[in-house]
Amino acid sequence: MEEKAVSKFKVSSNPHIRSRVNTSAIMLSVIIALLPATGYGIYNFGLRALLIILISICSTVLTEFLFGLIIKKSTIADLSAVVTGLLLGLNMPVSVPLWMPALGGVFAILVVKCLFGGLGQNFMNPALAARCFLVISFSKYMTDFDCDAYTGATPLAMLKAGENVNIYNMVIGKIPGTIGETSMIAIIIGACFLILLGVIDLKVPGSYIVAFVIFIVIFGGRGFDPAYISAQLAGGGLMLGAFFMATDYVTRPVTPMGQIVFGIFLGVMTGIFRLFGPSAEGVSYSIILGNLLVPLIERFTKPTPFGPGKGGRHE
């Protein structure tokens, strides 16, 4: 009799308890954290912004779904495709033709993610890689920030030209730019949410921002000018990039030391691109470049195991 009951028990290796946090919960928290920036983007640029974001999300999710059919493995439930689609949408100007978010979504999921082995295997942030692909291929559309709400240059372009900008508007987000990048406040609210939940920490964004500030203080030609520094921080995709894209688990180093090195690299690269490059932006390219260096950074920043270093009496 006992023998029958015996076979019913599940047997597995320790531990026998698991935390409740899973991959979808993490992805969902990122989506929620992006809502303030998304909401402000729609408020700022109008309903067309919503349309672009929706097309982008549909494109990434559908691509992942179709690819899943081919390889007979459904990965839709982890919500990572939604995050990619949302980020891609937020990284586009509101005036792009509607086929662009669709094309970007296919590129992000199919080329950058699925062909490299799916979630966890991509070596570049899919949304950013797709954005860079679009910027290079269709720069006319991707760098045109004229729309119903705004005409004229972005604050960063104005800064580069030596003009003055309204910092208050930059912090609030009342400026031209891509849909989700303009409001520093909305992005920081979302980032605080993620930090409080423990989904991200300040190692990457903190070292990124600090390194960037130090770089522009030294090379910006304005010395320690708080107005200039705040404008540089609030402008372009720096905040969105630092808190939501540089912190992408898959494409940042996993080692704590490596994350700081990675952040510093991004800060310096963004500084170089912004100050010395032909365009006023540089966040996307910095992060993509940084992604490529991750294996190298991880290699040199392995954590030291607990104990008195190598050796010991029983070596």
């Binding site: 006992e2 023998e3 009951a5 015996v6 076979s7 019913k8 028990f9 599940k10 047997v11 597995s12 290796s13 320790n14 531990p15 026998h16 308890i17 698991r18 935390s19 946090v21 899973n22 991959t23 919960a25 993490i26 982890d78 990572s80 799916g118 979630l119 966890g120 295997q121 688990y249 898959v250 494409t251 940042r252 996993v254 080692t255 704590p256 392995k302 954590p303 030291t304 195991p305 607990f306 104990g307 008195p308 270093g309 050796g311 010991g312 009496r313 029983h314 070596e315």
Partner: protein, 439 residues
């Protein structure tokens, strides 16, 4: 310098409320008791009895087969039914002495001792050795070996591991509340073995009542102190405990004695007390029976060799058929195939869960979140080590300090992708350790 904690670790649901408030109760044993000859680290004990022999409770039925080994005592009176292979909690078949309980509980006489002052250090260690005492926290390392370091003068701290960091377990907690004088007396005995040693009772701060009680009892003993430690799993892991209590670090290749420390578990120390002052060999221990499938979660005083099914039956059985049964704590215990296996010197608990959290969610790809690195008390990279183990990349595994893993289970617990990280690393370590042993 004490650090009171360590880097890494997790805070799982502790489930201790289920069983912590009921006093320890004696659990009777069944008709048959089984004594595996190998319930300690080292050479299996060699039987002193044969089929058909009548034995008394407290009689030595198997002798230590070497220095790193330990004798085994009958915990009831009865007849030797057989000496054969029997299944143990790990699922292995182990040569065991099977005893038929005659229900008379006839015992050999035990000689009590009023004081241990007239015993030499060697005599105390030999009493401990003859009593069959091994590390009762789970490892089962023979205690007399632990208490005989190469340079006894260099031992500065004797640490009583009262952390009980495993969720659900409350046996040490109950022991501390109900028999604190035996714990303190046992610790004093060990401290007296080393000329320069100080005794530390290291307790997690989720047991403030124990801390207060122990502090009161050791007030006049300057050579003992109570150290409250931050509550965090695995605070009671030997390396983390030594660091938290003394600020000293050892790696996987070192022994606590290398940094002047000796660590013993609560039950072990109480058994030492009973062996020296009451003359009783190791025959019983406290087992926590708990989990959401158990009708009456509680701590039981169990005669070693009793089958788990007899304890469960005595406790009124299960509320619901459990989906998983674990011997030991939920973090490091063994999932069992059935209840027809014996309790041993190293059994700490029996947990019965109505839902198995492990099989509830399938593993998915690693998203490189780094949570496993954050919680790893060994400060290694579990996600990478598991990858190397999966591909059997021995070189990369060793280069990335795979052997420093203590198999505590924090990485698997925290992993949002629900990967069996601990399992991968553990099996790789097992293979490599076996290989190393072979030479």
């Amino acid at each position: 310098m004490a650090k009171f904690s360590f880097v890494g670790g997790i805070h799982p649901y502790d489930g201790k409320d289920l069983s912590k408030d009921s006093p320890i109760e004696d659990a009777p044993c069944g008709k048959e008791l089984v004594y595996p000859l190998s319930q300690h680290i080292g050479a299996p004990a060699s039987p002193l009895v044969k089929k058909g022999d009548r034995v008394l409770s407290g009689q030595r039925i198997a002798d230590a087969a070497g220095f790193v080994s330990s004798p085994i005592y009958a915990s009831v009176s009865g007849t030797v039914k057989d000496i054969d292979k029997r299944r143990t909690v790990t699922g292995d078949m182990v040569m065991s002495i099977i005893l038929e309980n005659d229900g008379l509980y006839e015992s050999v006489p035990f000689t009590k001792r009023e004081t241990a002052d007239n015993l030499t250090k060697e005599e105390v260690i030999s009493i401990i050795k003859d009593a069959g005492i091994v590390g009762m926290g789970g490892a089962g390392f023979p205690t007399h070996v632990k208490l005989s370091p190469k340079e006894p003068d260099k031992i500065e701290y004797v640490i009583a591991n009262c952390a009980e960091c495993e969720p659900y377990l409350t046996s040490d907690y109950r022991r501390m509340l109900e028999e604190p004088e035996k714990l303190i007396g046992g610790l004093e005995l060990i401290v007296s073995l080393f000329d320069n040693a100080h005794g530390i009772l290291a307790v997690e701060d989720n047991k403030p009542d124990c801390i207060a009680l122990l502090k009161k009892l050791i007030k006049d003993k300057p050579y003992l102190s109570v150290k409250p430690l931050r509550t965090k799993y695995p605070q009671g892991a030997e390396r983390q405990l030594i660091y938290a209590a003394t600020g000293r670090k050892i790696n996987s290749k070192m022994l606590p004695a290398d940094v002047g420390c000796i660590v013993n578990n609560v039950d072990t120390i109480v058994s030492i007390y009973r062996a020296v002052y009451e003359g009783r060999p190791l025959m019983e221990r406290i087992i926590t029976l708990t989990g959401d499938a158990v009708k009456k979660p509680q701590n039981y005083r169990v005669k070693i060799g009793t089958l788990y099914e007899d304890i469960v039956e005595y406790a009124g059985g299960f509320k619901e058929t459990p989906e998983k049964i674990v011997c030991g704590g939920p973090m490091m215990g063994f999932a069992m195939y059935g209840l027809d296996v014996p309790t041993t010197k190293t059994s700490t608990a029996l947990l019965a869960f109505t839902k198995d959290e492990v099989s509830a969610s399938a593993p998915s790809p690693c998203i490189n979140c780094g949570r496993c690195l954050e919680v790893c008390p060994g400060r290694v990279m579990p996600s990478k080590l598991a990858d190397y183990a999966e591909h059997f990349d021995e070189e990369a595994f060793l280069q990335n300090n795979g052997m420093e893993c203590c198999e505590c289970g924090c990485c698997s617990f925290i992993c949002p992708a629900k990967r069996p990280l601990t399992q991968e690393i553990k099996s790789m370590r097992k293979i490599l350790l076996a290989k190393r042993k072979k030479g």
